[in-house]
C-alpha cells in the first residue's frame, strides 16, 4: 500500500485546514516545492497535491505552483481542486502531473471524463469521494449533496471510474482516527481505493493495509510529527512468505501409476503407495492422485488406495477422477483425501460446484480444467480430453471461482505429455482473471520449465508427472534449483 503525503495549497503556500474550514488554517511552508522534495527524500513514492483555492472557486488557481512541484520532484504526483474542463485537465496532464483528481461533480459531466480517459488513459483519472455524515459533499466541502455512498458507487461504476479517493470529511484534520467502514465499502466494490481523512497513527495505516486499500493519504499527522514517514511505509509494506508449491501427480489405472501422452499410450510407472511416500520424503508440497479409468468397478479399490496413501504421507492430498456427486466427495474425504479434483462434472453441471463448496467448504474443491488452444482462445475439453465443448476456458475459470471453487488445476491438452514446457499464455490468462490459487499443469520437461512458469505467470503451484516418475529429476533437486533462482520455496 502507498503512503501518500498531502500537500494542500492556498495562495501558493502549503497549509492544512481542519475539516475543510478555510477559517481554521495552519501555514506549514511558504514553498510547497521544498515540502515535496523533503517528502521525496524520506522515501515517499507518490504525492497528493490539492489546490484548495481551486476547489473553492471551481477553477484552477495555483496551477503554476503545482506544475513547479511536478517539475521539482522525480516521483509521480496527483492533483485535485477546481478541475472542471477538459483543457484544465490537459494542462496538468501534459505539464508533468501523473493523475488528476476530479470531484463527484464529474457524474454530471461524463463527456469531459470520457474525453480525458480516451486521450490520456483511464489510469490517469481518479475521483475524490467526500462523504460527510453519510452523504457526498462536493465543491470544497462547503456544499453538501444528498447522494448516499451506495448511490455514488453505482453512479461511478456507470461512468467507468476504477479508482477513488475516499474521505470522511467529518474526520479530516481532527487526528481522531479514520472511517474504516466507509473505505471498505469501496474496496469491496472493486475500486482501487485510496483512503483519506483522519489518519492519525501507525495502527491506522496497518488497518488500511489489512483492508486492502491501494493507498492512504496522510496530512496533519505527518506535519505534526504524529507519524514518521519511514515507519509508516514499513507498516504499509506488502509482506508474504507464502511458498510456491511443487506437486507430483499420480495418474492411476487398475491400481498402478501410469504415464502417457495426450492421455493415451499409457505405460506403467510404479506402485502408487510407494511413489507417494517417496515423493513426500523428497519434499513434495502436496500430492495429487487421479483415477483415470474411474469406472464403477474400480471405485472401491480406488478408495482403499486413497486410504493406504493417506496413512503414509503427512502433506496435503488431492484426489480426483469420476467425481459426480456430493456422496462421491464425502466418501473420498472420509478415507483421507484433503481435497477433491473435479473435472467433467463441473463443466456439465456448474451448480454441483456451488453445492459442493457450500457443503464441504471451498478449501477442498479443486476444479480441473482441460483446455486446448483454438485460434486466439482456449476451449474446454471434457472426459479426459476426448470430448470438445464450446466453453471458453477463461470464462469458465471465472465462473468456477465465483461458484466457490478453492483452486484451479489448469491442464493444457496442447502440452500434455510433450515435455515442452507449461502453456504460459493459457496460465497467464487464467491467473489474471481469478483471485483464487492456480496450479499449472501439463508440459513440464525440465527444471527450467518450472522456473519459467513461476517467473512469467502468477501461478501458485506447478505440477509434474513424467519428469518425476522417470527419475530424471528428484523433487528436492528441482526445489533447490528454484530456490537458488529466487523463487520462494519450502526446502
Amino acid at each position: 500500500m502507498l503512503v501518500i503525503p498531502a500537500i494542500d495549497i492556498v495562495g501558493g503556500k502549503c497549509v492544512r485546514l481542519t475539516q475543510g474550514d478555510f477559517a481554521k488554517s495552519t501555514l506549514y511552508s511558504a514553498n510547497p516545492a521544498d515540502v515535496a522534495k523533503d517528502f521525496e527524500r524520506q522515501g515517499t513514492r507518490f504525492l497528493h497535491v490539492v489546490d484548495l483555492d481551486g476547489a473553492r472557486t471551481g477553477f484552477p488557481v495555483n496551477s503554476e505552483t503545482i506544475l513547479s512541484i511536478a517539475k521539482s520532484v522525480g516521483i509521480p504526483i496527483q492533483i485535485g481542486g477546481g478541475i472542471r474542463s477538459y483543457d484544465q485537465a490537459r494542462g496538468y496532464l501534459e505539464g508533468g502531473v501523473s493523475k488528476i483528481v476530479l470531484g463527484t461533480a464529474v457524474i454530471e459531466n461524463p463527456k469531459m471524463l470520457e474525453r480525458v480517459s480516451r486521450d490520456f488513459g483511464k489510469s490517469r483519472v481518479t475521483v475524490s469521494v467526500d462523504i460527510k455524515d453519510g452523504n457526498a459533499a462536493t465543491c470544497g466541502w462547503l456544499k453538501k449533496s444528498t447522494e448516499t455512498a451506495p448511490a455514488l458507487i453505482a453512479a461511478l461504476k456507470k461512468i467507468g471510474i476504477a479508482s477513488v479517493i475516499v474521505t470522511d470529511t467529518s474526520k479530516d484534520g481532527l487526528l481522531q482516527g479514520p472511517n474504516f467502514g466507509l473505505t471498505k465499502l469501496f474496496i469491496d466494490e472493486g475500486f482501487e481505493t485510496i483512503a483519506a481523512g483522519g489518519v492519525t497513527s501507525l495502527s491506522d495505516i496497518r488497518e488500511f493495509t489489512k483492508l486492502g486499500a491501494y493507498g492512504v493519504i496522510v496530512g496533519k499527522a505527518i506535519y505534526e510529527n504524529k507519524i514518521d514517514m519511514r515507519n509508516a511505509q514499513r507498516e504499509a509494506a506488502y509482506k508474504s512468505s507464502l511458498a510456491k508449491r511443487i506437486i507430483p501427480c499420480l495418474d492411476v489405472k487398475n491400481g498402478r501409476v501410469v504415464k502417457g501422452t495426450y492421455f493415451t499410450n499409457l505405460r506403467d510407472a510404479g506402485d502408487p503407495v510407494a511413489l507417494g511416500k517417496k515423493y513426500c520424503q523428497q519434499g513434495a508440497d502436496e500430492l495429487i492422485l487421479l483415477d483415470i479409468a474411474a469406472t464403477l468397478e474400480s471405485r472401491k479399490t480406488f478408495c482403499d488406495l486413497v486410504s493406504a496413501i493417506a496413512r503414509e504421507i503427512s502433506i496435503p492430498f488431492t484426489v480426483g477422477g469420476g467425481i459426480t456427486t456430493i456422496e462421491d466427495i464425502r466418501k473420498l474425504l472420509s478415507v483421507g483425501a484433503d481435497k477433491v479434483s473435479i473435472g467433467t462434472a463441473a463443466v456439465r453441471n456448474p451448480r454441483f460446484i456451488k453445492d459442493a463448496a457450500a457443503y464441504f467448504g471451498s478449501q477442498c474443491i479443486v476444479i480441473s480444467i482441460d483446455a486446448k488452444r483454438q485460434n486466439e482462445d482456449f476451449i474446454i475439453y471434457i472426459k479426459g480430453g476426448t470430448e470438445k465443448t464450446e466453453m471458453d476456458a477463461v470464462a469458465f475459470s471465472k465462473q468456477m471461482a465465483q461458484y466457490g471453487a478453492g483452486e484451479l488445476l489448469v491442464n493444457s491438452l496442447d502440452r500434455d505429455g510433450t515435455q515442452k514446457g507449461f502453456d504460459v499464455e493459457l496460465l497467464k490468462r487464467v491467473t489474471d482473471s481469478v483471485s483464487i490459487p492456480v496450479i499449472a499443469s501439463s508440459g513440464a520437461g525440465s527444471m527450467r520449465d518450472f522456473l519459467t512458469v513461476f517467473e512469467k505467470t502468477n501461478v501458485d503451484a506447478a505440477l509434474g508427472a513424467s519428469i518425476f516418475h522417470s527419475q530424471e529429476k528428484s523433487i528436492m533437486e528441482l526445489k533447490r534449483f528454484l530456490s537458488s533462482n529466487n523463487i520462494p520455496i519450502r526446502l
Partner: protein, 196 residues
C-alpha cells in the same frame, strides 16, 4: 487417551492418521463426557464457522470446551471458533481467546493456501524444538486478529497475522500440523507429550 472432537464439519481422518503415526491412543468423539475425561483434546476444523458452531451447539460441546482443563489444541477453523467472534456468517464464538476472525481483503488471493512460515513470537511448549520460520501448511479465508499477549506465532500474507495462539492450557494453530510434514509432526508430538 486424546479425544478428537468430531462435529461433522471437521476433517478428522488426517488428524487421526497423524496421531496414530506418533503412537498416540486417540478416539474420535462428540460425547461431552468423553471429551471432558480425556487426557487432551484436539479440535480440528474445516468448513464454515456458522455451520460448525451450530453442530457444536447441537452436540452440546460448545459449553464444554471453555471448561476443559487438560491440554487443548484448536486447528484452523478450530482456532477461529475459540475467538470471540467470526466475520464468517457473523458467528459468535466460544470466547476462550480474545481475537476476532476477519476476512482477508479482496486484494489478496483467497483462500490463503499453501506452505507459509511461522515466526515464533513467544516461547511456548507447543513449539519447543521447532525452528523459527519453519513452513506449515495453511488453507483458510479468514484470519484471527488476536491480542499480542495471546499470540505465540505470526505469519505474513499481505500483512502479519496470528498463526499460533496460547492461553494457559489452550493452544491453537491456524495451519494444519497434520499436513505439515516433519515440523507439523513435531508440533503434534509436543502436544501429545503435554497430555501424558
Amino acid at each position: 487417551m486424546i479425544a478428537i472432537i468430531n462435529y461433522k464439519a471437521g476433517n478428522v481422518a488426517s488428524v487421526k492418521n497423524a496421531l496414530e503415526r506418533l503412537g498416540s491412543a486417540c478416539t474420535v468423539t462428540s460425547d461431552p463426557e468423553e471429551i471432558l475425561s480425556a487426557d487432551g483434546v484436539i479440535f480440528p476444523g474445516q468448513g464454515r464457522a456458522g455451520a460448525a458452531l451450530s453442530e457444536l451447539q447441537k452436540a452440546r460441546i460448545d459449553t464444554v470446551i471453555p471448561r476443559i482443563t487438560k491440554p487443548f489444541l484448536g486447528i484452523c477453523l478450530g482456532m477461529q471458533l475459540l475467538g470471540r467472534f467470526s466475520e464468517e456468517d457473523n458467528t459468535k464464538c466460544l470466547e476462550v481467546f480474545q481475537g476476532i476472525s476477519r476476512k482477508f481483503p479482496p486484494t489478496l488471493k483467497t483462500p490463503h493456501l499453501g506452505w507459509n512460515k511461522a515466526e515464533l513470537t513467544k516461547k511456548s511448549p507447543l513449539t519447543a524444538g521447532i525452528t523459527n520460520g519453519s513452513y506449515f501448511y495453511f488453507v483458510h479465508s479468514y484470519y484471527m486478529d488476536a491480542t499480542e499477549d495471546q499470540t505465540a506465532g505470526t505469519t505474513s500474507y499481505g500483512f502479519d497475522f496470528t498463526s499460533i495462539m496460547q492461553k494457559d492450557n489452550f493452544f491453537a494453530v491456524q495451519f494444519h500440523p497434520e499436513k505439515s510434514g516433519a515440523q507439523g509432526l513435531r508440533l503434534l508430538t509436543n502436544f501429545y507429550e503435554l497430555c501424558l
